[in-house]
C-alpha cells in the first residue's frame, strides 16, 4: 500500500494506482474526458491535470502513478489554471450551440464548461468543421463536436474486440472515423454513444425525439439473452424513447449489447396488436376482451371434452416473464394437460427426468472473469451472448485461454482462442476427444464409450490447455443445447468438468431460460415437450409470446400442426401475417416495457421489474390475462392479486437467486457414427432471435440483419458443383428455398450454413439434418 495525500486528505491506495484511482477512492472528483475506467489510459484530453508536490508541471491524474508520500492538489491555483487552459482549448473549435445539440443536458463538456470555462472566447478565428460519418443505422455523428478523446476508438479496439474506428489524419485535421465507406457493425456499437462525452456520437433512433430532462428514467431488465442486462428505460408520455445501461458490475458492467439497447423500437412499432381479435367464419374481427376469453374457454373445454386434456398444448416463449410462464403452466395443468414447454428450439429432450435441477451457467456471471481456462462448445458466442463474449475477451487479454468447439470458425474476437471445428454431427465426437485426452493426461480411466475415439490434434491442444489451468469452466452454447445430441454433449461436459475439477454449465439462450424451469413450464409425467407437441399435432394450442414459425426447432412442422388444429390462441404483443393464418384468437399482451415481471438470468439471479409505460391500447399484462382466463375457465388457484403474488408462488421462497439450479445429469453418452452427406448448420441471427428484435427497425437495418446467405467452404462448393454460383436452391426434405451463396472458409467440409429464425429459410424445417444444394 502507498500513502498519498489528496487536497490534504490522507489515504492508502494499492501499488500501481494512478492519482485518478486514488482520487476516486478519496471521493474527490477530478475533471476528465478521455479517462474511462474500462478503457486503456490515453491521457490525451489533459483535463485531469493536477498539481503534484515537487513536480514542476501539472500532471495528468489519469496516467500518473501514485508514489509513496505523494501530495496532490486537485484544486490549487496551478491545477485550476491548467484545467481552465485545457477547457479553453477544447472549446475553441467546439460549436457552442448546446441548445440544438442532442447531447444537451447530458454533456460532460457542457457540465464542466460551466465550472471551468470562461464566458467570452478569446478565440476569434474560424472554427473547424468536420464532415459527418455514416456509422450505420444506430449511431449518429456530429463530428464537428468531437473532442478527440478517442474513447470510441479504444472501445472498438478493446471492448468490442475489433478496431472499427480510428483517428485518421493528424493534428487539427484529425478525424475520428471508421475505414472509408465502412460502418461500425459491432453488436456492441451503441456503447460508443454512452462513452462519447460530447454530442459527437448520439443515438440515431433517438435523434431529436426528446430533450433528456423531459424523460422519465425507469429501471428495467433486458428481455433478450440469458444475461439479463440492467436497463434504464427513458419514457415520455408513456412512449419508450431510449434505453441506456444501468451499471451493474456483476452483470452487464456499464455496457449494453445493441439488441438490448435498440429493441425498444419494436414496442412502438406499427405491428403492435392493440385489441383482441377473433376469427369467426374465416373472418378476423376485433372483439372485446370478454368475448375473446370466452371464445378460448369454450374452445378449450370443447377440445378437452372430445379429445381429452392431452389434446391441448401450451408453448411459452423463453423471453416471457416468470409470472407468465408460471401461470401458463398452471393453466395447462389445471386443465389436465402436462403438455407445456418453453424450450422451443431444443430438439433432444432425453434428459428430461434425468436432471438434478435447472440447467444454468454453473457460476456467477462475474465469476466467468476469474476463470483461467474456458471451453465453450457449440456457440455463436459473440452474437448469441455479446457481453459474455466481451467478458471472455477481457479475460483472454489477461491470459485466460479460451477454447471453442464449433461447427463454424466465426471470429469471436477473443485473443488466441484454440479452436476445433467440425460438422454438427461431429461435435459430440470432438468433445469426446477432449474428454479422452484430458482423462489420459490426468491418468484417469477413460470412459468405455470413448475407447474407440482417436484424439485429433486440435482436441489435444484444447485438452492440454484445459489441463494446464487451475480454474476452468466448460460451457454449452445455444447451438449445443439445440443439438440433436444435446444430452450427450451435456453428459460429456459434465464428465470433462469432473476430470478437470472445473465447473460447467450452459449459456442461457433467453432471458428466462432458467426461469422456465423455475416456473415449471416444462412437461411432466406423460406430458409432451415442445418438439413432440408439433410432431404429434394437438387439437388446441395456447401460444404465449411464441412465433413458432421462427422460434422453434422445426418451424415448418410447427406451422403445419397449427394449421390443422381446432383452436389456436395466440397471446402476443404483435399481429403477424403468420399468426393471422393459423390462429383463431389473438390476445394483445404487454411487451416487457408494459408489465411487471421477473427474469431469472443464466446465473439464476432473480430480477424483477415494473412496467415503464402504460399498456398500449387494450393491451393487458400477460399475467393478468392468464389469471382472468383461469377464472373464466373456473380453474382453482387463480386468485392472484398482483404479479408479486404470482412470483412468490413460482419462486417458493427464493429471493436473490433461484433455488434448484443444478447442471447434474444422470445420463450416459453415446457417440453416434457421423452421418454422411451435407449437413445443415443453422445459426439464429442476432437480430432475428426473438419477436422484439425482429421488429426493431433500426436493428433490422444493421449489418447483422442482412438477409442470410447459404455458406459453404470452397471445397464443399466444388464438390456440390456450385463454383461461381451466385444463387442456389437449398432443399431440406420436401421444402426448398432459393438463397444467395457465399464462400466461407470457416466452415468444415460438408457443412452448409443456412440461418434459422428468418422468413426466407423458415420453410426448410429442422435446424439440423441433411440437405441438398443445387445451382439455382
Amino acid at each position: 500500500m502507498l500513502e498519498i495525500e489528496i487536497d490534504g486528505k490522507s489515504l492508502q491506495v494499492a501499488e500501481g494506482s494512478t492519482i485518478m484511482d486514488a482520487a476516486h477512492e478519496a471521493g474527490t472528483y477530478i475533471p476528465h474526458f478521455c479517462y474511462h475506467k474500462k478503457l486503456s489510459i490515453a491521457a490525451n484530453c489533459r483535463m485531469c491535470l493536477v498539481q503534484v508536490e515537487k513536480a514542476p508541471k501539472p500532471l495528468p491524474a489519469c496516467a500518473t502513478p501514485v508514489a509513496n508520500g505523494m501530495k496532490v492538489f486537485t484544486h490549487s491555483e496551478l491545477a485550476l489554471k491548467a484545467q481552465k487552459g485545457v477547457m479553453e482549448f477544447l472549446l475553441i473549435n467546439h460549436p457552442l450551440d448546446c441548445p440544438i445539440c442532442d447531447q444537451g443536458g447530458e454533456c460532460q463538456l457542457q457540465d464542466l464548461a460551466v465550472g471551468y470555462g470562461s464566458s467570452a472566447s478569446r478565440y476569434q478565428e474560424e472554427k473547424r468543421v468536420v464532415f459527418n460519418k455514416n456509422l450505420g443505422p444506430l449511431v449518429n455523428t456530429d463530428m464537428t463536436r468531437c473532442i478527440h478523446c478517442t474513447r470510441c476508438v479504444r472501445f472498438t479496439q478493446e471492448i468490442a474486440g475489433e478496431m472499427e474506428m480510428g483517428q485518421a489524419k493528424r493534428g487539427e485535421h484529425s478525424e475520428i472515423m471508421p475505414f472509408i465507406e465502412k460502418t461500425v457493425d459491432s453488436e456492441l456499437s451503441g456503447n460508443i454513444i454512452d462513452l462519447c462525452p460530447v454530442g459527437a456520437l448520439t443515438s440515431k433512433p433517438f435523434r431529436y425525439a426528446a430533450r433528456t430532462w423531459e424523460l422519465a428514467r425507469r429501471k428495467s431488465v433486458a428481455p433478450h439473452d440469458g444475461l439479463g442486462s440492467n436497463l434504464i428505460v427513458q419514457v415520455k408520455h408513456d412512449k419508450v424513447l431510449r434505453v441506456l445501461p444501468l451499471e451493474n458490475e456483476d452483470i452487464n458492467e456499464c455496457w449494453l449489447s445493441d439488441k438490448d439497447r435498440f429493441s425498444y423500437e419494436a414496442v412502438n412499432s406499427e405491428e403492435r396488436l392493440t385489441k383482441p381479435m377473433v376469427k369467426q367464419g374465416g373472418q378476423w374481427g376485433e372483439a372485446d376482451w370478454g368475448v375473446a376469453l370466452d371464445y378460448i374457454a369454450h374452445a378449450l373445454k370443447d377440445v378437452v371434452k372430445t379429445h381429452g386434456a392431452e389434446a391441448v398444448g401450451t408453448l411459452v416463449s423463453p423471453h416471457s416473464t416468470l409470472e407468465e410462464m408460471f401461470l401458463a403452466q398452471q393453466l395447462s395443468r389445471e386443465l389436465g394437460s402436462h403438455n407445456v414447454d418453453f424450450r422451443l428450439r431444443q430438439s433432444d429432450f432425453s434428459l428430461d427426468g434425468k436432471r438434478a435441477g435447472a440447467p444454468w451457467l454453473g457460476m456467477k456471471v462475474a465469476e466467468l472473469s476469474q476463470l483461467d481456462r474456458v471451453l465453450v462448445v457449440g456457440s455463436f458466442l459473440r452474437k448469441d451472448h455479446p457481453l459474455l463474449a466481451q467478458r471472455l475477451r477481457q479475460s483472454a487479454k489477461r491470459g485466460t485461454q479460451v477454447s471453442l468447439i464449433n461447427p463454424v470458425d466465426d471470429d469471436q474476437l477473443i485473443k488466441n482462442t484454440l479452436r476445433a471445428v467440425g460438422l454438427p454431427s461431429q461435435l459430440p465426437q470432438l468433445l469426446g476427444e477432449v474428454v479422452k485426452a484430458v482423462a489420459t493426461a490426468k491418468g484417469a480411466a477413460v470412459d468405455a464409450a470413448l475407447t474407440g475415439v482417436t484424439v485429433s490434434a486440435a482436441a489435444q491442444k484444447i485438452a492440454d490447455s484445459l489441463v494446464s489451468g487451475s480454474n476452468a469452466g466448460v460451457f454449452l452454447g445455444n447451438f449445443a443445447q439445440q443439438h440433436p445430441q444435446a444430452a450427450t454433449l451435456e453428459a460429456l461436459a459434465q464428465q470433462l468438468a469432473k476430470l478437470l475439477g472445473a465447473r460447467h454449465g450452459v449459456l442461457g439462450e433467453a432471458a428466462n431460460s432458467v426461469g422456465g424451469y423455475v416456473a415449471k413450464a416444462v412437461p411432466s409425467g406423460n406430458g409432451l415437450n415442445a418438439a413432440q407437441m408439433f410432431a404429434q399435432p394437438r387439437k388446441a394450442y395456447l401460444l404465449f409470446n411464441v412465433e413458432p414459425e421462427l422460434d422453434s426447432a422445426d418451424g415448418a412442422q410447427a406451422v403445419a400442426a397449427l394449421k390443422d388444429a381446432a383452436m389456436v390462441a395466440v397471446f402476443s404483443a404483435f399481429k403477424s401475417e403468420a399468426a393471422l393464418a393459423y390462429a383463431d384468437v389473438l390476445l394483445p399482451i404487454s411487451p416487457f416495457t408494459e408489465t411487471s415481471g421477473t427474469f431469472v438470468n443464466t446465473e439464476g439471479r432473480v430480477q424483477s421489474f415494473n412496467a415503464v409505460a402504460k399498456p398500449l391500447g387494450e393491451t393487458r399484462p400477460g399475467w393478468k390475462v392468464l389469471r382472468v382466463l383461469g377464472n373464466v375457465l373456473n380453474l382453482p388457484g387463480f386468485e392472484y392479486n398482483s404479479s408479486e403474488e404470482v412470483r412468490a408462488a413460482a419462486l417458493v421462497g427464493a429471493e436473490e437467486f433461484a433455488n434448484g439450479l443444478d447442471n447434474g445429469v444422470n445420463a450416459a453418452f453415446n457417440l453416434n457414427a457421423v452421418a454422411a452427406g451435407v449437413e445443415r448448420v443453422a445459426d439464429v441471427p442476432i437480430y432475428f432471435a426473438d419477436g422484439l428484435v425482429r421488429r426493431a427497425p433500426s436493428l433490422q437495418r444493421a449489418r447483422d440483419a442482412a438477409a442470410p446467405a447459404v455458406r459453404v467452404n470452397a471445397a464443399t462448393a466444388a464438390k456440390l458443383g456450385l463454383d461461381g454460383a451466385a444463387e442456389v436452391t437449398v432443399k431440406q426434405g420436401a421444402a426448398s428455398v432459393r438463397l444467395a451463396l457465399k464462400i466461407d472458409a470457416g466452415l468444415p467440409d460438408g457443412a452448409v450454413r443456412v440461418a434459422a429464425a428468418h422468413a426466407s429459410t423458415a420453410a426448410l424445417g429442422s435446424m439440423f439434418g441433411q440437405l441438398s444444394v443445387e445451382r439455382a
Binding site: E164, K169, P178, I180
Partner: protein, 157 residues
C-alpha cells in the same frame, strides 16, 4: 491487386520485424503499394491491411498520418518543395513560386496533362542544400536555381 514483385518487396520488409509484429511493415508496404499504383486508393489500403492482417482503419490511420502517402491521384511526377524557414532563407519559397509559375499550378494541384503535381514540403533534413526539391518521394534535388529547375522539368518526360 499488387504485383508479385511488390509482394516480394513487402515480404522482405515483413521479415525485418518479429514474427508476431507484421503490422510494423505497414509503412513500407504502403510505400511499395504507392510506388506501384501511383497513389493509395481505398482498395489498395485495404489490400495492404489484409495482407498484413491488421484492421483497415489502422492502415488508413497510418496512410493519412504520414505526409508522403498520397490519398488522391497525383501526376506522374510529384514535386515537393521544402518551404520551411531554413530553406526559405535560401530561396525555398521562391523556388516553389518559380515552379508554380512554370507549371501554372498551385500547391496540391496537378497539371492538366497529368504530368506534375506540386506539394509543399516540410523540413526534409537537407536545409544546407536549400532550395531542395523531392521528386516522387525518392530523388532529392539540391541547390535549386531557376536554371536547375528548368532542367529538371525538362528531364521529366
Amino acid at each position: 491487386m499488387l504485383s508479385q514483385e511488390a509482394l516480394k518487396l513487402i515480404d522482405r520488409e515483413v521479415a525485418k520485424y518479429p514474427a508476431d509484429q507484421k503490422q510494423s511493415a505497414v509503412m513500407a508496404a504502403l510505400a511499395i503499394a504507392q510506388d506501384e499504383k501511383g497513389w493509395l486508393a481505398r482498395e489498395t489500403i485495404e489490400y495492404v491491411a489484409n495482407y498484413l492482417e491488421m484492421p483497415a482503419i489502422a492502415a488508413y490511420e497510418v496512410a493519412s498520418f504520414y505526409n508522403m502517402y498520397d490519398l488522391d491521384p497525383v501526376g506522374k511526377y510529384k514535386l515537393t518543395v521544402c518551404t520551411n524557414l531554413p530553406c526559405a532563407l535560401s530561396g525555398g519559397v521562391h523556388a516553389a513560386d518559380y515552379v508554380k509559375e512554370k507549371l501554372g499550378i498551385d500547391f496540391n494541384e496537378t497539371t492538366a496533362d497529368g504530368k506534375f503535381t506540386l506539394k509543399e514540403g516540410e523540413c526534409m533534413g537537407a536545409c544546407g542544400d536549400a532550395p531542395v526539391m523531392l521528386v516522387n518521394n525518392k530523388r532529392m534535388c539540391s541547390f535549386m536555381t531557376p536554371e536547375q529547375i528548368d532542367k529538371l522539368l525538362a528531364e521529366c518526360k
